[in-house]
Symmetry: C2
Subunit: 386 residues, 2 copies
Amino acid sequence: MLRLGIVGFGQQGKLYASILSGITLPGMPPIAKPRDCVLTAISARNASAKAQIEGMGICYFQNWKDLIASDACDAIVITVPHFAHHEIAIAALQAGKHVLCEKPMTIRATDAQAILQAQKENPESKLAMMLNQRANSLLQKVKAIIASGELGKMRNTNYITTNWWRPDSYYESNSWRGTWNGEGGGILVNQACHPLDIWIWLCGMPRSVYSRCLEGAHRNIGVENDVIVLAQYESGAQGVFTTCSHDLMGTDRLEISFDKGKIILEGNRKATILHYKAEENAFGQLYDFRTFYGVMAQNPDAIYEKEELVSQNGFCDDYVQMFQNFADYIAGTSEPIAPIEAGLRQVQLANAIQLSGWTGQEVSLPGDSDTYNQLLAAKIKEEAIL
Amino acid sequence: MLRLGIVGFGQQGKLYASILSGITLPGMPPIAKPRDCVLTAISARNASAKAQIEGMGICYFQNWKDLIASDACDAIVITVPHFAHHEIAIAALQAGKHVLCEKPMTIRATDAQAILQAQKENPESKLAMMLNQRANSLLQKVKAIIASGELGKMRNTNYITTNWWRPDSYYESNSWRGTWNGEGGGILVNQACHPLDIWIWLCGMPRSVYSRCLEGAHRNIGVENDVIVLAQYESGAQGVFTTCSHDLMGTDRLEISFDKGKIILEGNRKATILHYKAEENAFGQLYDFRTFYGVMAQNPDAIYEKEELVSQNGFCDDYVQMFQNFADYIAGTSEPIAPIEAGLRQVQLANAIQLSGWTGQEVSLPGDSDTYNQLLAAKIKEEAIL
């Protein structure tokens, strides 16, 4: 049984406390508590939470350093603001605690690298990422189909992930929201880290990116919230990624084409898989291309098979599975669904997209961290003056 | 009654001859012949067509110059290969003939400019473009909704038009296909001029484009056939356009978001229009953004109205309407559906996208024609050596 301590008792920390304690949230269906984890400690800066936490029979710490130094838990879950992740993660790894880190791993890729280094130097301490969308059963199936190689190599990818509507009132609700100082960026840091991770997971890490990042598009903020990315892959494939925070009825649609098939993933709830009966170019030997369209209309079975998959995930199932997988990883019985490297790569990609937007230049991955850090520092400085 | 002469008796010329003569094509539904046009002449280089053409009671010319010089028709329809369009169009305008020009107007924007100049100098001669997709009743409705202003200003556009599958056998079927010398380019010149025109028509002309044009992607050709375009608009909006010729089951999906609504057009057959009850940011005053998603799920009528439109167009209806509209334009009773400027803009945009792909630089519209012409000439020269 893995004893977990939650660092941070904000919105996400409270949600995790409920999940780990098997508490049903108001108006929500019951959650199946993860089998091999137990919540034993919480650190919360605000001492007013002490009574509530201790009332649940859980050790309370005001300072995360005390939680890490204590023997109250074997592993921590980091749910504090992004800028503080690396300091806590590194200290925990060094103190012999395992870490489950909320997304994004860090703001700066250099900080994520420092976490990897600390883990390497403390190999008994493990770290995994809470990139919970990977635990979606539908995405797991899609990943397995791609990994099996039956569709061949990827050719193109197009991800429209504009379903991150946030009105001005959202950005006004906390002073750190939508600021360089508070979040290190906008949609690329906060909302879009899930689709960026899923994109890398399913399509691979781009070799380079060229992006346009509009800052404060239709919103009273200074950070990017309307982004288009052109990606090039080592294989020669290319792709597009678009995201924004001002589309009231945003789209969530990922299309990936392969040598022998195509995947269209909609809203992480439905996937359409087209399995071609042969490599696509081969149909040009069988049919004149106009004849092909006739066959497609009248006898599509000769050309492809269509598979439709729907997500079976219920409320919070993905979180429960991520906690269970983390316990299994620590127990040495399973590989992590979202390993430490996944956290780094997601941050590297977000940094590279921001850097390309700032400089107007194509950026080769993993990107120039020094320039990124300098330009981010300049953004923060400029914001403080305004 | 407008007397039309067709220049060129290839695939398209023959189709137009059938439409204008009211001939039903084998295995196809009958076509409603355009009311105010009559086909009176055809020029075809291959003299073997003479008997067939004269057998239809239509004047035959082997040389288009003779057709233009004759009094056998009032207007011509140009259906010869793209590189020859401007010479014929200019000669016809100067000879007092009206012109209906097949897409693309020309390969080079400078040649399209020369056509506009010739029309200006011969104002009694009119020119319209055969950009027939504009006559699709569904697109006409979508255009009217945008033009009415009820959805407000455009914010983003994303066009996936990869439904132009052409196998190697297609490119091998004619020596000019997929060559710089024969077509002046690949998918941007040939297949994608329709969606480029529709994109400009519905979303406006971009201020600048940055593109990636893969040449010979999964095909044994030297021209571009896998293209991603990032577009910036004068208004501050941005958009994406992707097209390719190696997607067996390509996608045709145009999404446009506005201040007060959204349009999703699929396959030119179906449009979903979302009419918001207010400007999108205003919902942030009405609801906390998490509450908003609850309202969206339980009482969507409070937020938007969904309109679904389906194309009523039958086989060749668009062509018939384009011919009728051309007759009406010449008669002075209607504006052209696809005016001369539309032809120029479509070519300017295609040229700018190619130029950006060749140079790796962002290109401001209308683009540097001299550089484009030099680089195209170099491509043609290089191809001849290979």
